[in-house]
């Protein structure tokens, strides 16, 4: 037991691609990954909500994280996936990503905590930068992504 305490905690992240950058999503939030499918549009809602999908009998909203982060509109390809994340409230929301690359295990000492607001609206969703060998992964904090919806609406 004591030996274990010395080593750093490790967290597994799913690495997804958005544009040219790689982002990591804490695997404990990920409920499911599904292929791109028909999304039913909902008129007159927040612009980042692309609509809803049917996930085994449940109606799940799908959010474009690109729009949330002020990136260019999603380009749907064969690699496009919807990551279904389960928030602490138990609510499930889908996020559109360009592709899913791999699952990495990062120990806490390789994660650089970051909380400053570098580029407006972007860094605020990021809890830190993970170093996986030479590659850098921006770690998305799901609670941040879906917490500031009020601000988002007023903007």
């Amino acid at each position: 037991m004591e030996e274990l305490n010395v080593s750093y905690n490790t967290i597994q992240y799913i690495v997804v691609g958005l544009g040219s950058e790689n982002y990591g999503i804490d695997i404990s939030y990920v409920d499911n990954i599904v292929r791109m499918q028909h999304i039913t549009r909902i008129p007159r809602v927040q612009k980042e909500i692309k609509g809803v999908i049917n996930l085994r009998g449940e109606v799940i909203p799908v959010v474009s994280i690109r729009i949330k982060m002020n990136l260019a509109e999603d380009e749907i390809t064969d690699d496009t996936r919807i990551i279904i994340v389960k928030l602490e409230s138990g609510e499930r929301i889908g996020i559109i990503v360009d592709n899913v690359k791999e699952v990495v295990t990062l120990s806490e000492d390789t994660i650089e905590k970051q909380s400053y607001d570098s580029k407006a609206g972007r860094a605020s969703f990021i809890s830190g930068i993970g170093k996986n060998g030479d590659a850098l992964i921006s770690l998305l904090d799901m609670n941040l992504v879906f917490a500031d919806k009020e601000k988002e609406n007023n903007a």
């Binding site: 007159r44 809602v45 927040q46 909500i49």
Partner: protein
């Protein structure tokens, strides 16, 4: 383990008793001599006292205790019931309700001792009685009589039941060791009062009291069974202690509602197993056969045993089911319906299976209905408190009024029933305060002095209608109109164009109150708008009809079920949408040349009525697939008696749909009320036609 696990039972039972007290007091006011009612009140007060005592709620216990005392005298005939006494009793009831609310919210009864009420009760006791005996003596007498009754029931042989506890080898060793150490081994049989509600809690308190004195070695029935309340009115223990026998006995008897504790030194020898079992059985039989006899003999508790089956059967026939479990069941049924729909879709391609599908359809429909029925509860649970409320209002407002209710047995979905109480209360208060005139005015107008308020509930097709009527003044439309203009809610010109109905609907706007005087009953302008929004959140609607000088009638219309509805499926701009069939009146094919413009809005003239046209495609931000020359498919939707024509591109047909709520994360517009999953797995949004009218 502590008493908190009984809190829920305690609250449930206390509320039941409070309701029954309230009902009975209403009757008592009319029939002060009715012995059945007096007995019922006595019993309810007695049970509540016992339960409050068990749970350690001292203030509540004291208050119910004094109430019980008063009724014990009423039963003996030494006090007569009169109006002032009933008033005091209603105040006591309010105080008890307050305790209960406090307990529910904070698990603490609060420290209001309500001394004035206790004093008032004692005044009743002392003032009216022939010989000024202090109250506790009377109560003691009653209790003594009860104990006597119980004692008659207990055949003397049964009292020492502990002698028949079979002891195992290991237990005998423990007991021998204890004796060798100079400890004392007692056997005891503890009798719990027959009227005790929380027997297990009592037993637990006995155990706790005993633990201070020593150790319980064996119990019959087992501790588990005692905790689960699997015992009659007594249980037996073998107990090792250093304390003297009296001290132990006293400790047990200090727990309230413990009637008796027979204790003796335990003889440790092998009991004749067979004989003892047999003995026990006969004792039980004896006890059972003795009980009713004893009760008839006991003059202090004449109706106790006979009455219980009359009051209780409802509780025995119903099962309390966690609403979450029902939700799961409901979801399963929903899925079954989705599965059925997909079968229906695939069968269109392949004939022959239709028969089976029809069968499946009837099964799912029946299943749906029965699950819905499980969720249905009579509105009685909500409206039962209203007679007392109206009585209180009558005193407070100093107006004479009476409430007539019908259709209390009408059933609604549990979730709706839970929500409907407040709006109904608002409407009743509104009628009592604004509607009914004072007695003098009523007399002048040739109406009976006592105003009448009616609450009628009935089922009407797939809806439940609840009407609140009064024979009061009705709504003064001109007063409302003036007020609205004064407040700047509407302009003079607007006012002129509005008919009476539109004006009355202004009452539902937030913070609009016409009460000339703000009373603490109503008139603060928070009421009718709350009523309206609450009812609408339940997918219902509220309407009011009123005639000046004659009265008003508020009509609430609620859907029977919320989860599954019949809907019309339509296509707009290539997307599928569902419109609840409940809000659809007809479907019309309209030639574009029939469209007229009134105030720059499109309308059609349909069989004499002018109906505004709403192009759904515009509201849904999508381009219609129809050309401007094509005939329009218009779905005529109604809300109350207002109509609107919704223009769609295509009709698909009628379908039973399961409503799925949209995630809270989606900030949807009012137009979309939810979503549903179609047979092919596709999602269709549900359009709330009411939001467009």
């Amino acid at each position: 383990m502590d008493v908190s696990q009984y809190l829920e039972i305690f609250l449930d039972e206390t509320k039941e008793h409070l309701q029954s007290l309230s009902d009975q007091l209403m009757i008592l006011e009319q029939e002060p001599e009715n012995m059945d009612v007096i007995n019922e009140i006595f019993r309810a007060a007695h049970s509540m006292k016992g339960m409050a005592g068990t749970m350690g709620y001292k203030n509540m216990q004291n208050l119910t205790h004094d109430m019980e005392n008063v009724f014990s005298e009423v039963r003996n005939g030494s006090i007569k019931v009169d109006g002032s006494m009933v008033d005091v009793l209603f105040q006591v009831l309010d105080a008890l309700e307050e305790y209960t609310d406090n307990i529910q919210n904070t698990s603490d009864e609060g420290d209001n001792e309500n001394e004035h009420l206790i004093k008032a009760l004692n005044d009743i006791l002392n003032g009216e009685k022939a010989e000024p005996a202090p109250a506790p003596a009377a109560a003691e007498a009653t209790e003594a009589a009860e104990t006597a009754a119980a004692e008659t029931a207990d055949a003397s042989s049964e009292k020492a039941k502990f002698k028949t506890i079979p002891l195992g080898e290991s237990e005998k060793t423990v007991l021998s060791e204890a004796l060798a150490q100079g400890k004392k081994v007692y056997g005891m049989t503890v009798c719990v009062s027959e009227n005790c509600i929380l027997k297990a809690a009592r037993a637990f308190l006995v155990f706790k009291a005993l633990e201070e004195h020593g150790e319980i070695i064996v119990s019959a029935p087992s501790t588990q069974d005692i905790e689960d309340e699997k015992f009659e009115n007594d249980f037996s223990l073998v107990f090792v202690s250093d304390s003297a026998m009296d001290a132990v006995q006293k400790a047990v008897l200090s727990v309230s509602e413990i009637e008796d504790c027979v204790i003796d030194n335990m003889q440790i020898e092998a009991p004749k197993a067979e004989g003892s079992v047999k003995e026990e059985k006969t004792e039980v039989v004896q006890a059972a056969s003795n009980a009713p006899k004893a009760d008839k003999m006991a003059s202090s508790a004449p109706a106790k045993q006979d009455k219980k089956p009359v009051g209780k059967p409802v509780a025995n026939r119903t099962v309390r089911v966690d609403i979450e479990k029902l939700d799961v069941l409901m979801n399963l049924v929903s899925e079954l319906i989705i599965a059925k729909n997909s079968l229906v879709t695939s069968s269109n391609l392949d004939g022959g299976v239709n028969e089976h599908i029809e069968y499946l359809e009837s099964v799912t429909t029946n299943l749906h209905e029965s699950v819905m029925k499980v969720r249905m509860v009579p509105i009685e649970s909500v409206v039962a408190k209203f007679p007392k409320m109206v009585r209180d209002l009558s005193k407070k407002l100093d107006k004479k009024m009476q409430l007539f209710m019908s259709g209390e047995e009408t059933e609604l979905d549990r979730t709706v029933v839970d929500e409907i109480g407040d709006p109904l209360m608002h409407l009743l208060r509104n009628s009592a305060d604004h509607g009914l005139e004072s007695a003098e005015v009523r007399k002048e107008r040739g109406k009976p002095e006592v105003g009448s308020i009616f609450l009628d509930a009935y089922q009407d097709g797939n809806n439940v209608v609840i009407e609140v009527r009064d024979d009061g003044n009705g709504i003064d439309v001109d007063a409302v109109r003036r007020k609205a203009i004064d407040r700047g809610t509407i302009t003079e010109e607007q006012a002129e164009n509005m008919d009476d109905k539109d004006i009355i609907n202004l009452l539902f706007l937030p913070s609009f109150s016409t009460a000339k005087q703000v009373t603490d009953v109503s008139g603060r302008g928070v009421g009718l708008d709350v009523v309206k929004s609450k009812i609408e959140s339940l997918s219902g609607e509220v309407e009011v009809k009123s005639q000046l000088g004659v009265g008003s009638c508020w009509t609430i219309r609620l859907p029977l079920t919320l989860a599954i509805i019949q809907a019309l499926m339509v296509v707009v701009g290539g997307e599928k949408y569902a419109i609840s069939l409940g809000s659809i009146q007809t479907i019309e094919d309209v030639n574009p040349s029939d469209l007229k413009l009134v105030e720059n809005r499109e309308v059609i003239n349909l069989r004499g009525s002018v109906i505004p046209i709403v192009r759904l495609s515009e509201h849904l931000d999508i381009a219609s697939t129809k050309g401007p020359e094509d005939n329009l498919t218009v779905v005529i939707a109604k809300k109350g008696d207002k109509l609107a024509g919704l223009v769609v591109d295509e009709l698909i047909g009628q379908q039973e749909i399961v409503i799925k709520s949209l995630s809270k994360y989606i900030k949807k517009s009012k137009l979309i009320s939810g979503a549903t999953i179609l047979g092919d797995g596709e999602i269709a949004l549900i359009v709330d036609a009411n939001a467009l009218i």
